[in-house]
């Protein structure tokens, strides 16, 4: 698969098929068709915006939770993962190599809401043998974007 189109969309999902076609030296229809296919085949999962919630009035708390589980015969880790990711609060879920098995990020309205979720929902799932919750204090960078704007160099008038 040619990943150039995906690379461009991953950087800026708002590029139109017409713009993408020009940039890649291809036909617009051809690009539009390929995007439709990529969506249909679930290669492109969605087009969310990256939001800095700290600049809004909404309080959002994010936590990274390490989860240890005992894999189950026949299903491995998948069955338990499935039971976890169904929760609306779960933003992402990855199976990890190393000290623990699943990395779960969840968002909630408050520390308490997050703690509550871990105790009442996560820790009690059959097969979960332990959790460790890390609250995210500050986000610096996500998906290649910085949360704070870098200072710009002073404006110059020069001739090159």
């Amino acid at each position: 698969m040619n990943t150039e189109l995906l690379n461009l969309l991953e950087k800026d999902a708002r590029l139109t098929p017409a713009q993408l076609a020009t940039m890649l030296g291809r036909e617009e229809k051809d690009v539009a068709d390929e995007i439709a296919d990529l969506e249909k085949n679930h290669v492109i999962l969605g087009y969310p915006a990256l939001v800095d919630w700290t600049k809004t009035d909404d309080e959002i708390v994010t936590a990274l939770i390490e989860v240890r589980i005992s894999p189950q015969r026949g299903d491995g880790f998948d069955r338990i993962a499935e039971r976890i990711y169904q929760y609306e609060e779960v933003e992402s879920l990855f199976l990890m190599s190393g000290d623990y098995d699943l990395a779960v990020t969840i968002t909630g309205r408050s520390l308490r809401a997050v703690a509550e979720f871990v105790h009442a929902r996560l820790a009690v799932i059959d097969g979960v043998t332990g959790t460790a919750t890390h609250f995210i204090l500050k986000k610096y960078k996500e998906k290649h974007h910085l949360f704070e704007k870098l200072p710009e160099q002073e404006e110059r008038l020069l001739f090159v």
């Binding site: 461009l8 800026d12 590029l15 713009q19 020009t22 940039m23 890649l24 030296g25 870098l150 110059r156 008038l157 020069l158 001739f159 090159v160």
Partner: protein, 394 residues
């Protein structure tokens, strides 16, 4: 009372200030928050972090003294490896190169080392603004040869032949070209070489944009049979690695020429900035991927801008190098200067009149596409509107 006029050198006074000074005054006094400048020719990328980090690290370790005049030995070895790797050119790092303060210094010391009073230097135009004035400063005579849109702004053997006289000392070969975006391919260079072999003319090949060549690899004229011994290759870190502010370049060439240029460099400059040289070592060691990433990104924008320019109804030859488009604006009935002034005043977009780049630039404007896609997109919407208003009026 001092009479500054008679205190100053006649040669310096004789040099015309940059042709677009007036234009910049206009820009400076314009208080438009929505202004977009496609005027400055430099990468919009910040220097890749690993390169900046190498500079910071050099400072932390206290590498703050002069380097040897010709530059850090390690850097020169890296440059030699780079020239071999990217352009198949062999240079002795200890005898055939000088690390300079930008490519600009390389051009300056090359001209000073070669040109005597009254010697002629052939300068294809439109091109970067520095060649003529530097030649004039040493008492040389710039001989401008206009490249033509119908030749894709390449220097032709015929035009070169017609410009050569017994006084011709040097040919400046500024390709990939600022402002036209023209490149010279191997066949074009062969034709130029045919004219030059058997003469005593030196070529000053300004290849600062070499890495920004689209749809094919850059070929250096030093690579053409019989040209290596008569070619000075000027290159640098500014454009390829987005390092304009580090002010670092280099010249490679035959030892007898480099040896003399090194003298000028020793007396006038001492050495290029040490911090920059350490950063440059890192750039050459592991910066090939950065070059590729940026080149690809410029290429997207190049296609985008070209398509929009043509869509707006302007004739524009396809630029194959650097990061400029050079559309023809004759269909507007305006001169380049008028066009740029009106476009700036009405639509708040700064582009540069082709006339700033020497004779042959009239009827064209330079637009730099090293700017975000959002900027280019907005600028071209305004261009569309500007042209529509203009053409509907008539």
């Amino acid at each position: 009372m001092i009479d500054y006029d008679s205190a100053l050198s006649g040669r310096v006074k004789g040099i015309a200030p940059s042709g677009i000074r007036k234009f910049f005054d206009l820009l400076e006094n314009m208080d438009a928050g929505d202004a977009i400048s496609l005027g400055v020719g430099e990468p919009d990328f910040v220097t890749p972090w690993h390169i900046r980090d190498a500079g910071v690290y050099a400072l932390e370790k206290g590498f703050t003294k002069y380097t040897s005049n010709a530059g850090l030995a390690d850097l020169r070895r890296q440059i030699a490896a780079y020239m071999r790797r990217r352009f198949a050119l062999e240079y002795d790092p200890m005898k055939q190169m000088v690390v300079t303060v930008g490519g600009s210094e390389g051009i300056d010391i090359a001209v000073r080392a070669i040109v005597n009073q009254g010697d002629e230097v052939i300068v294809p135009v439109p091109s970067f603004v520095c060649y003529g004035p530097i030649v004039e400063l040493v008492g040389g005579v710039p001989v401008y040869v206009e490249t033509k849109a119908e030749d894709e702004f390449r220097l032709t053997a015929e035009a070169l032949k017609a410009a050569i006289t017994p006084r011709t000392k040097l040919l400046v070969l500024p390709f990939p070209n600022n402002p036209t975006g023209a490149i010279m391919e191997r066949a074009d260079l062969e034709a130029i070489a045919d004219v030059l072999r058997g003469t005593n003319i030196i070529v000053l090949s300004d290849e600062i944009y070499a890495e920004l060549t689209y749809g094919g690899r850059h070929v250096s004229i030093a690579n053409i049979a019989g040209m290596y011994e008569r070619t000075l290759v000027v290159n640098g870190f500014s454009k390829a690695y987005a390092m304009t502010g580090w002010r670092l370049g280099y010249v490679c060439g035959p030892q007898p020429l480099i040896k003399q240029m090194l003298k000028i460099h020793q007396y006038a400059i001492m050495c290029a900035p040490t911090t920059s040289q350490y950063a440059a070592v890192e750039a050459m060691q592991s910066g090939d991927v950065d070059i590729e990433m940026m080149r690809k990104d410029y290429d997207y924008r190049r296609r985008f801008l070209l398509d929009k320019l043509r869509g707006a109804g302007l004739t524009c030859f396809e630029p194959r190098g650097a990061f400029y488009a050079f559309p023809c604006i004759r269909s507007t009935g305006m001169t380049s200067a008028e066009f740029c002034e009106q476009f700036l005043l009405q639509e708040h977009v700064a582009v540069i009149p082709g006339t700033a780049f020497g004779p042959g630039g009239e009827g064209f404007v330079r637009m730099c596409y090293a700017s975000s896609l959002a900027n280019l997109s907005e600028a071209m919407e305004r261009m569309d509107r500007f042209l529509k208003n203009l053409w509907n009026k008539d």
